[in-house]
Symmetry: C2
Subunit: 547 residues, 2 copies
């Protein structure tokens, strides 16, 4: 379905497009106060037209569903969430208006959501396209009022987000207005994989906070939550097959149960977000040995995991079996980065094992990664590995491997040239813990840089911003993620040509500042956009829209 979203709606599209154009042309040409040259939607939709009419939205906005997938619990729950967001200010006012007899006639009373499939499986490449029309129902239009049409519920979710961004509270009339109507939007993402990594090992994040982060991802239309669950510092997740593993958590209160993980997956799914779990092996795994010291080469040399023992691979297999029940997403991240093999070379029994097999430590690294890939594939997973695996032994990697770039530029071009899929996370731009990268450098980093053939471009699944946890905890994670993650989100969602021309200080910055304030209004602690260092407090008093 990917990249061909509208095939079944061609007639509808033509019809509604001509209606949009005719409505737009028919409008009074006096500019409304909010008729700005910029379109304050983030990320920018693929195609859209707007007019110059201002419409009011009924605080009792109702939902009408259609299509075989319309009557979905996911759609209904999302409508309720967005209604709460759209009418944050007006909860008390509609009642007040009724009593005082103030304006009770609204232009938009109903949002119609049409979903053309009842398949709610959420996988890589799921159709997220949607069309959104917002116009006054004057009895003549066949579209009427506000309508979202999508092929899947996940497209409908993206349309709801866009609709919510069209709605703004007007303090003069105390009502929610849509400026520049009629709106006709045809939208779809550029990349299928638009991720955010969260590291819950360097710092533990309570499940409530993880949910806040996932919720905020949906506002920017990000769609993969890369859960870097475990690392050398702590092992917070319950693994029923090996119940001592989470003894490696910081404290007994800094843990995730299996049920917590399920809940996070379901919470994310309801927002059209897949959860890609990671176990980073064989390096970055010291915490595993707290519960099972046999996983360490020795008690004094604890990383990488002991490559010599069957037990090591039994544990990996056990973890993957348990995780397979929790994480339905087809991609699973096996890490594989920054493997320092000194412990293998220096620990007598490992050294002997290498000698017996005539293997170098580097050979053993390859052996380990490939064996783990086999286990993952046997459990019906597509393995993702950090780029070191590709850089070290590309020719041996399973061809299904997704190469996850991080060290620098030029890796995805090499990976796709060899036929591998790739995810772009160049640390110079998309590592959110690099606080000195300004929003514009995040914004202009391009996952397809250096890849010109269409067939190779299609192997780039997308990209991911990475929120490593050394100095990020509950107190500061959201303002480290936002607003810069939004800059990457537009890069990954919007048409490359539409966001790569012109002066972005004029075309993107005011829109990003607006989106940052939108996040703030929704309770997300997005930081000022233009500070020299990310997540720093504002330098003085001032408007959210200018900081």
């Amino acid at each position: 379905m990917l990249y061909d979203p509208f095939k079944s709606h061609f007639l509808f599209l033509i019809l509604s497009f001509s209606l949009c154009v005719s409505q737009t042309l028919a409008l009074n040409s006096v500019p409304e106060p909010d008729a700005s040259a910029l379109t304050y939607l983030w990320p920018l939709p693929s195609e859209f037209t707007s007019g110059n009419r201002t419409l009011s939205v009924d605080p009792d906005l109702s939902l009408a569903v259609a299509g075989i997938g319309g009557n979905s619990a996911i759609v209904r729950a999302a409508f309720d969430r967005y209604r709460a967001i759209i009418f944050k200010h007006t909860s008390g006012i509609s009642i007040f208006s009724r009593f005082t007899g103030r304006s009770s006639v609204y232009d938009i009373n109903k949002l119609k959501i049409i979903v053309n499939s009842d398949n709610e499986e959420l996988q890589l490449g799921v159709d997220e396209s949607y069309t959104l029309f917002v116009s006054k129902n004057d009895g003549k239009s066949i579209i009427g009022e506000a309508t979202i049409e999508a092929n899947t519920v996940y497209g409908a979710l993206r349309g709801l987000e866009t609709f919510s961004q069209l709605c703004s509270f007007d303090y003069g009339t105390k009502s929610v207005l849509v400026y520049k109507a009629p709106w006709c939007i045809w939208d779809k993402p550029r990349f299928a994989f638009r991720g955010l990594l969260l590291d819950t090992s360097r710092h533990y994040f309570p499940i409530y906070v993880i949910k806040q982060i996932i919720e905020s991802m949906s506002y920017a239309k990000l769609n993969v939550f890369h859960w870097h669950i475990i690392d050398e510092e702590s092992f917070p997740l319950e693994v029923p097959a090996y119940p001592k593993l989470w003894k490696g958590s910081y404290t007994k209160w800094e843990r995730y149960t299996v049920e917590d993980a399920y809940e996070i997956v379901n919470f994310a799914k309801a927002r059209g977000i897949n959860v890609m779990a990671e176990i980073d092996i064989p390096g970055h795994a010291e915490s595993w040995g707290t519960g099972y010291p046999d996983l360490w080469p020795s008690t004094s040399c604890r990383e990488p995991l002991d490559v010599t023992k069957n037990f090591t691979f039994d544990v990996i297999s056990g973890i993957l079996t348990d995780m397979r029940k929790i994480f339905p997403f087809e991609l699973f991240h096996l890490g594989g980065d920054e493997v320092n093999t000194d412990c293998w070379s220096s620990t007598p029994h490992v050294k002997q094992w290498l000698q017996d097999r005539n293997m170098t430590a580097k050979d053993a690294y390859k052996y380990f990664v490939l064996k783990a890939q086999e286990i993952a594939i046997s459990k019906n997973w597509t393995p993702v590995n950090w780029e070191e695996t590709f850089n070290s032994f590309a020719e041996n990697l399973n061809p299904r491997t997704v190469v996850h770039n991080w060290l620098g530029a030029g890796v995805c071009p090499k990976a796709v040239a060899k036929g591998f899929k790739c995810i772009f996370s160049n640390q110079g731009f998309w590592y959110l813990d690099h606080l000195d990268v300004p929003w514009n450098e995040v914004y202009t980093a391009e996952p397809l840089e250096g890849i010109n053939e269409t067939s190779k471009q299609e192997l780039v699944l997308g990209g991911e911003v990475c929120m490593w946890g050394e100095t990020a905890d509950t107190s500061d994670v959201q303002q480290t993620i936002w607003p810069r993650a939004a800059a990457a989100a537009e890069r990954m969602w919007s048409r490359r040509d539409a966001i790569s021309t012109g002066n972005i200080t004029l075309t993107a910055l005011p829109r990003l500042q607006y989106f940052r304030c939108l996040l703030n209004r929704r309770g997300v602690q997005a930081a000022p956009v233009t500070n020299k260092y990310a997540r720093r407090p504002p330098t003085g008093a001032g408007s959210c829209y200018e900081q």
Copy 2:
């Protein structure tokens, strides 16, 4: 009612106390794993005993109400909120347990809340006392299970918070447990006024964020939200009598409607928190003149408000009339700090007015403050003023004035010596924007310092931590407030003798770190406790409980 909470429950108290003691003594003396020497409740209750039994809490915990005030919407809504907090982890588990037949027998199935008055008026000195008993219902006890008794719904809210802090999720049994039961707690605040100031003029805070802050205040049992609404930078509030005033907002989106303000007051009331509004006059009011330039001495010299015009006082009176409808709290803050009268001395028509009346600029400052006090009192308000008014003309201040200390030590002793009530906010300790004040200096600052006579001590209403907004916006306000505001909250709630002895690094710090992690779990961005500067990120990976 203040400070005499238990008068009507003497018999109940004696009876339950003896039960507590006998239950405690009857217990098995093998220490439970969580039998720490410290009591992880914040702020520390007035009196309590605990045992060494561990009790499980039913995820379907039900509410039973009694007393003429028990059947209150405030109590029911609070119970629902706290149930969501207590069972954050277990929402999916109780169902799971039922299917698998795992432990379905819990020690505590019901929380009984007894409220002995149906008067829900929330004013200064409202009875916030409560008793809380948590014990296993073995058929013999007349208390049984978990019981909160309070004289008002607001006492019941405080008891619910304490109950929620006794409940902790155990990852081993995947259930909510109460350690060290039975618990017998008799609690009441030391001070009637325990405030937090938020400045919504230097930065605008969305109403959702203000609600988050108010909600978090209730976790630390703070009870006054001092809303410093307007300052020289912006005028965000709607004033129906003078509708151009909010033209002084930063943008048309950074405003509060009258309905927003109502909603904040009601939200706070449901959490037992009063809203004390402030208009800071005659200084700190430049933004007033954006809508009404006549309020400025001249367009080139804009502060303080023009003392010469009736219009100035008409506007003040109009604001106070409109605000009186919104803010039921008896205290209203009239500011009065940092008044630089240069504009009065240099603007010709003001200078002339002063000469005509043989007044100095300082006389005019006094004239302005006293006139504003009269207006406030005429509208049935008790005026609060920053200490400069007291420092400058104590003998003229209305005797009902509450003096709000901020500049330094020694002001409350002087104010109460002259019979004024006082609020303690010594900036050296309780100004949260002073980022270099560590938690322990916040903790040990004592509102009664230098006041030894009981009759004078009673004039100290309490204290307030102040979150000025120059560098605080939505992105960083919560981690600037927390955890230091909690240090002050315990100072104001708990018995002075109980928190002023011993080594606070051993008695308070681990408890504050625990409370900080509790805030994090509830989604509040409380910062690490022991960083040298407040609100700084963690310096490296680690457990929440040690940072």
